[in-house]
C-alpha cells in the first residue's frame, strides 16, 4: 500500500476569541493519496481554510496528528523533531488573496524560494521560471510588479511560484473567489492543466461546482467544523441523501 501524501487524524482546532473558545475544526480524519484531486466544499466559516492551514502547519492544531508522506510531522501529544520548512517546500499553497510579494517582480517572486529554500543553481532557476511562466501563459509579464497585474494574472503568478518549487501536492484555498467571472476562467484553465498534463495532487477548496465535478476524484463536504460527507464527484449532481441536497443548495444559493 502506498503512503498517503497527507493524512490527518482526529484533528481539532480551537481559536481563543473574545467570545470564548471557538471550535474551527473537530473530528477531522482525512487521507490524501498521490495523484488524487480532492475538492473541499462547505459554507463560509465551516473551517475549510483552517483545515488547509493545519495540514501544512501554518497554524498549529489543538489536537490530533498530521502525517506527510508517511512521516509524523505533528502530534499534539508529543513534540515531533521535524524541520517544518523542509516539509512545507513540498506542499504548495495558493491563497484566495494571491499573497504575491508586492515589492518583487514576477520573476523575483518565483526566484526567491528557488534560491533561498531549494538553493538551485542559477541556470536551473532561470529555466524553471521560464517553464512555469509558459505553463500559466504569462511569459510577457516577467518584469512586472504584482500591483501592475490583473487579479487573474496575479493568481496565475501565484500558481507559477508554487509550481516552480515542484511540490508533491498543492493546496488551493478558494483561488477564484476574489476574481471576476471572466478572470475565473483563466485560473481554472491553468488548474485543469495541472491535473491533465502534469498529474499533480491537488486539494481544492472551491465553490466552482462544475470545475469540481469535472476535475475532482473526491469531494469532501464540510459543515460546522466537521466533515459531513465524503464521496465521488457525482455526489455534486446527485446528492445521495436529503441532508446533502439541502446543504448543496444552501451553499450554491449563498454564492
Amino acid at each position: 500500500m502506498t503512503n498517503a501524501l497527507i493524512e490527518v487524524k482526529n484533528l481539532k482546532k480551537t481559536f481563543r476569541t473574545r467570545g470564548g473558545e471557538l471550535v474551527a475544526l473537530q473530528n477531522i480524519n482525512l487521507r490524501i493519496m498521490p495523484g488524487e484531486v480532492v475538492a473541499v466544499i462547505g459554507s463560509s466559516g465551516s473551517g475549510k481554510s483552517t483545515l488547509l492551514r493545519c495540514m501544512n502547519l501554518l497554524i498549529t492544531p489543538t489536537e490530533g496528528q498530521v502525517y506527510f508522506d508517511g512521516e509524523l510531522i505533528f502530534n499534539s501529544e508529543a513534540p515531533v523533531d521535524i524541520d517544518i520548512d523542509s516539509v512545507r517546500k513540498n506542499i504548495g499553497m495558493v491563497f484566495q488573496a494571491f499573497n504575491l510579494f508586492m515589492h518583487l517582480t514576477v520573476k523575483n517572486n518565483i526566484h526567491l524560494a528557488l534560491k533561498q529554500v531549494l538553493n538551485l543553481p542559477d541556470e536551473e532557476i532561470q529555466d524553471r521560471i521560464k517553464d512555469v511562466l509558459e505553463t500559466v501563459n504569462l511569459s510577457d509579464k516577467l518584469n512586472s510588479y504584482p500591483g501592475e497585474l490583473s487579479g487573474g494574472q496575479q493568481q496565475r503568478v501565484a500558481i507559477a511560484r508554487v509550481l516552480a518549487m515542484r511540490p508533491k501536492l498543492i493546496f488551493f484555498d478558494e483561488p477564484t473567489s476574489a476574481l471576476d467571472p471572466e478572470l475565473t476562467g483563466e485560473v481554472l484553465e491553468v488548474m485543469k492543466r495541472l491535473v491533465t498534463e502534469y498529474q499533480y495532487t491537488l486539494v481544492v477548496v472551491s465553490h466552482e461546482i462544475p470545475f469540481a465535478r469535472e476535475v475532482a476524484n473526491r469531494v469532501v463536504f464540510m459543515d460546522e467544523a466537521e466533515i459531513l460527507y465524503e464521496g465521488g464527484p457525482d455526489t455534486l449532481v446527485n446528492p445521495p441523501n436529503e441532508r446533502l441536497k439541502k446543504f448543496l443548495s444552501k451553499i450554491l444559493s449563498t454564492r
Binding site: 524541520d83 520548512d85 523542509s86 517546500k89 510579494f101 526567491l112 529554500v117 504584482p146 518549487m165
Partner: protein
C-alpha cells in the same frame, strides 16, 4: 525510523539570527582593530582625525582589555562616518566666499569669521546627527526584530522593551547629562587599569546619547512598519518553505523599510534639530557656536537666525532626499494610485 527522516530538524540555517549579529560584531571589531593598529602603531591619520582623544591601552601596555573592544568599535564607526569630511570641507570653503557678497549679512571681516565658524560648527552638527542616525538604526533594527519575533528569544524581549521604555520616557537632555557627567566618573571609580582617567570627548558623548535615544524611537517606527505588512505575506513565504529569518529578511523588512520612510524622516530631522541639546554638555556644535558668538559680538538676532538657516538647510535637504527615495522605491499596488 526517526534517524532516517528526510525532514530532520538539523539544519544550520535555523540559527541564522545569532550568527548574523555575531559575525557583524566580529567584522566591526576586525576593522576597528586594523584602524587602531594603523593609528596607534603606524601613526597614520585619516582625514585629519586623530584618535578622537582616546588613549587606548591596547598597544601601549602588555595587556589587552575587554573594554577596548567596545571602544574600538565606537572609534571605528566614527572613522567610517568621517568619510563625509571632504564633502563637508568643500561646503565649508565655498560658503564664506559666496556669502561674503550677500548684502544682508556681510559687512566686513566680522561676518566672514562668524559664518565660517557657524559653517564649521554645522559640519560637526551634521557629523553628530548622521552618526547618531546610523548607529541608532543598527540598534533599532535589532530591538525591533527581537520584539516582533514569535516565541521568546532568551531574555532579549524584556531587555528591548525596557530599553525602549527608558529612552522614550526620559528627556534627551537628562540622558546626555547621565552619559557625559555620570558615566565617566563611574568607570573611573571601577579602578580598571588604564581607565583611571577615562572620559568621553564632547562629540563622543553627544553621539552616544543621541544614538541611544534615537534607537528607541526608530525601533518603534520599524516595528510599526513590520506590523503593517499583511499576514498573507508571511503566510505565503512560510508556505514556500522560507524560515522565519528568511521571511523577515527577504519579504517583511524590504517592504516595511519602504513604508517607514516618512516617519523615519521625521525622526532623522528630530535628531538633527535635537543635537542642539548637546550644546548643554559643551559640545562645540551649531547651537553652541551661535551662543558663544552672539555673546561675543552682541548680534543675537542675526547670528541665531543664521544658525536657524543652517539647521533649516540640513533638515530640509534630508526631507527632500528621503522624498526621492520614497518615490523611487514606491511599491506598485500599495498606497494611493499615481499615474
Amino acid at each position: 525510523m526517526e534517524s532516517t527522516s528526510k525532514y530532520s530538524a538539523i539544519r544550520p540555517s535555523k540559527s541564522n539570527f545569532g550568527w548574523w549579529i555575531l559575525s557583524f560584531l566580529l567584522f566591526l571589531c576586525g576593522i576597528g582593530f586594523i584602524y587602531e593598529f594603523s593609528v596607534n602603531k603606524l601613526g597614520w591619520t585619516f582625514f585629519g582625525f586623530e584618535n578622537f582623544g582616546l588613549q587606548l591601552p591596547l598597544f601601549s601596555g602588555e595587556r589587552a582589555y575587554y573594554f577596548d573592544i567596545v571602544m574600538i568599535v565606537i572609534n571605528f564607526v566614527f572613522w567610517v562616518l568621517s568619510v563625509f569630511n571632504p564633502v563637508l570641507a568643500i561646503i565649508d570653503i565655498i560658503s564664506p566666499f559666496s556669502l561674503q557678497f550677500s548684502p544682508i549679512f556681510i559687512s566686513g571681516d566680522k561676518w566672514v569669521i562668524i559664518i565660517r565658524a557657524l559653517a564649521d560648527a554645522a559640519i560637526i552638527t551634521l557629523q553628530i546627527s548622521l552618526s547618531s542616525i546610523a548607529i541608532g538604526f543598527f540598534i533599532a533594527m535589532f530591538l525591533a526584530i527581537v520584539l516582533v519575533r514569535p516565541g521568546r528569544v532568551w531574555g532579549l524581549k524584556i531587555f528591548s522593551q525596557a530599553y525602549i521604555d527608558f529612552f522614550r520616557s526620559t528627556p534627551l537632555l537628562v540622558q546626555l547629562f547621565i552619559i557625559f557627567f555620570g558615566i565617566p566618573p563611574m568607570i573611573q571609580g571601577l579602578a580598571i587599569p588604564g581607565f583611571e582617567r577615562f572620559t568621553f570627548t564632547y562629540i563622543q558623548a553627544a553621539i552616544i546619547g543621541l544614538s541611544l535615544n534615537t534607537a528607541a524611537y526608530q525601533a518603534e517606527i520599524i516595528r510599526g512598519g513590520i506590523l503593517a505588512i499583511p499576514t498573507g505575506q508571511t503566510e505565503a513565504a512560510r508556505a514556500l518553505g522560507l524560515t522565519t529569518t528568511q521571511t523577515m529578511r527577504f519579504v517583511i523588512l524590504p517592504q516595511a523599510l519602504r513604508i517607514i520612510i516618512p516617519p523615519f524622516t521625521n525622526e532623522g530631522i528630530n535628531i538633527i534639530l535635537n543635537s542642539s541639546l548637546a550644546s548643554s554638555i559643551s559640545t562645540w556644535e551649531l547651537t553652541r557656536a551661535a551662543r558663544n558668538m552672539s555673546a561675543f559680538y552682541y548680534l543675537a538676532f542675526e547670528i541665531f537666525l543664521a544658525a536657524a538657516m543652517f539647521y533649516f538647510v540640513m533638515a530640509y535637504s534630508l526631507a527632500r532626499l528621503t522624498k526621492k527615495f520614497e518615490i523611487r522605491y514606491r511599491i506598485p499596488g500599495l498606497g494611493i494610485h499615481h499615474d
